[in-house]
Amino acid sequence: MIALRRKLLSFFVLALGIAGLVPQAGAVLTIKITHGVEGAIPIAIVPFGWDGTDASVPEDIGAVVTADLARSGRFDALPIGDLPARPHDGSAINFRNWRMLGTEFLLVGRIVRQPIKDYVLEFQLFDVFKGVQLVGYSMPAREDELRHKAHQISDMVYEKLTGQRGAFTTRIAYVTVTNARDRNARFSLRVADADGFNPQILVDSKQPLMSPAWSPDGSRLAYVSFEGKASAVYVQALDTGRRELISVGGDAVSAPAWSPDGKRLALAVTRAGNPDIYAYDFAGGKAQRLTDNSAIDTEPAWSPDGRDIVFTSDRGGQPQIYSMPARGGPARRLTFEGSYNARATWSPDGRLLAMVHGQDGRYRIAVLDVEHGLVQVLTSASLDESPSFAPNGAMIIYATQTGAGAELAAVSVDGRVRQSLVLDEGDVREPVWSPFK
């Protein structure tokens, strides 16, 4: 009887169990995804096709783009050896193969030789999981433009996939020094593509050149030259090479910084051995004094909204960053961490200041969240100098002293990705990233 009952029960339970299998309508499970991986975007960049059989590829577009995207720290490009296929256009893509590799995006393209000399550069960016094209262009290019066009592709991919404008077609200015310690010392102010290629000499001098600064429109560079008896600030047009001495008097002038509207230049002017911040007005040809005290006030930097100027001052006993109204006025100390904070520069959005942060004898690049006062150290070397934001705010380029000398390096704003920009010539100092054109 009991056994029967149990059987009966189990039957009922079973029957019920079957009944319980009926899916519950309307009850859609919700799963909340709250954490992600601070990871790079997985992309595969297939070497661009080349239809010229009689000549070598004029430019390895894929390699340029790959290097650009990798340098940004935001992309993780599939190594060429791991590519499952090498399609050159969308019709040849078997997305399943790429999905299996976890590749989210795929860039394919080719260089088509046109009659005579010119080329057409074609490329397509695909969303691998959806199998749809995100970007696709066909661009005519002269041979000497191919590398620049490759940077343009990088910009488009970057912008499409990060939502941020790419800065691969911008340039950097920097000073190179050769034979720094002897009579043959040579200083050069140079401008190169953002990846360090195509360096061009803007100024060559046997005397030190320092503190290059891009005008907001990217057409001119201000810099300090010691070619005269004292240091002086020049503003030089890139296209013509014509330059202008900024005459503000004083014993020495240094650290020029453009106002966002390009109409003024903030400077550190030393009078009677004491540097103070001045604002030079191009229109009037005169400088207005903004700070006046016995401490060293130098390295001004105009905020992107033009309202404030931050600068380095040792008025508190140690170099720290202060902020004051652009028209002058009471200064407010911004940095309190570390024994040394100097050489501040604004992020394009005005939220961050990048600076040299000295603590325990080590000088590293750090960013200060202006609003919240938080300092985040981004680099880990012992002598890093001259930070400069990329115009999209994603990277900071800086100089770092190594055993072999000074070289350029770049770090992502979150400090996650750092890499060296190895240039071919000696010490490289004071890099400054150009604005967007």
């Binding site: 009952r5 009966l8 029960l9 009922f12 339970v13 019920l16 169990g17 319980g20 299998l21 899916p23 519950q24 009850a27 859609v28 499970l29 919700t30 799963i31 909340k32 995804i33 709250t34 954490h35 992600g36 991986v37 601070e38 990871g39 790079a40 975007i41 935001r74 999905r99 976890g102 989210e104 969303d127 999981f129 959806k130 996939l161 990060t162 939502g163 941020q164 704003v413 979150d414």
Partner: protein, 302 residues
């Protein structure tokens, strides 16, 4: 008998004498009565009346009265004589009557004695008869009683048996009802227990299902989070995806149902889901149905 005849003769003689005498008596008595039969109301003519001399009338009346007195005295003497004769006859008759009464008395006494004897005999017989009847009655009554008793006993027996039968039937009915009730209760209890166990089983099943879902939710979440790229610039954004998988967990559809406003953020979420395909799915029967459609909220700040 002679004596009797003798007596009867004398009786008859006496009787004749009596009759004669009585007849005489009646005839004599009839004569005085006759005048009284004259009409008592004289016819008088009032109108022709004439007054006469009072003294003449009185004298006339005195004369009439004397005549009538004379008549009444004679009658009275006659009557006395007749009374004497009647007295003698009466005495003789009385004597005879006495004798006759005595005889009658004697005869009566004899008759009475005989009657009495007969009566006594009859009474005795009656009594005997009565006794017999009584005995019979008694016997009958006894028999009747016995019969009655027997009947009663039979009835009682019958009644008892009937009562017993009825009682048994009643008990049986009661027992049946009780059993029915118990059975029903048992059935109800069983049903109750079944329901309870079903409920518990369902609950347990649901709990188990929920545990499974929770487990897979956690696994899926981990799997997707491991594949979801985020960066600082996207902090503060969130989006919702509707995801449909086919058996085996392969993602058949991942659709943004609430955009973050940032195409790349949305895409990163979609790709995180696609890259996690196939999503781990429970193999327990029925569980896939509950996980085939999932809504994901991608919210790095949450």
């Amino acid at each position: 008998l002679l004596e009797f005849v003798d007596k009867l003769t004398s009786f008859l003689i006496a009787l004749v004498i009596h009759v004669v005498l009585l007849g005489l008596l009646f005839i004599s008595m009839d004569i005085p009565v006759e005048p009284r039969a004259i009409s008592p109301q004289p016819v008088v003519d009032i109108v022709q009346a004439v007054v006469v001399d009072e003294r003449q009338i009185q004298a006339e009346l005195e004369k009439i009265k004397a005549i009538e007195q004379e008549k009444r005295d004679a009658e009275r003497r006659h009557q006395a004589k007749l009374a004497q004769q009647a007295e003698a006859a009466r005495k003789a008759r009385q004597k005879e009557q006495e004798q006759l009464a005595e005889l009658k008395k004697k005869q009566q006494a004899e008759r009475k004695a005989a009657e009495k004897r007969s009566q006594q005999e009859q009474q005795r017989l009656a009594e005997l008869k009565q006794q017999q009847a009584k005995a019979t009655d008694e016997r009958r009554r006894e028999e009747s009683q016995l019969a009655e008793i027997a009947v009663r006993k039979q009835r009682e027996l019958d009644a008892t048996q009937k009562a017993e039968t009825e009682r048994k039937a009643l008990e049986a009915e009661k027992r049946r009802l009780e059993e029915d009730k118990q059975r029903r209760q048992a059935e109800l209890a069983l049903q109750d227990q079944i329901a309870e166990e079903q409920h518990l089983a369902k609950e347990e099943q649901e709990r188990e299902a929920q545990r499974t879902i929770d487990r897979y939710t956690s696994i899926i979440k981990r799997r997707i989070e491991d594949r979801w790229r985020v960066n600082n610039a996207q902090k503060g954004r969130s989006c919702d995806l509707f995801v449909r998988v086919i058996p085996g967990g392969e993602v058949a559809e991942a659709r943004v149902v609430r955009s973050s406003g940032d195409a790349n953020f949305d895409r990163s979420a979609e790709n995180a889901v696609f890259k996690s395909s196939p999503l781990p799915m429970p193999t327990e029967p029925g569980m896939f149905e509950r996980l085939r459609e999932i809504r994901f909220t991608f919210d790095p700040t949450g």
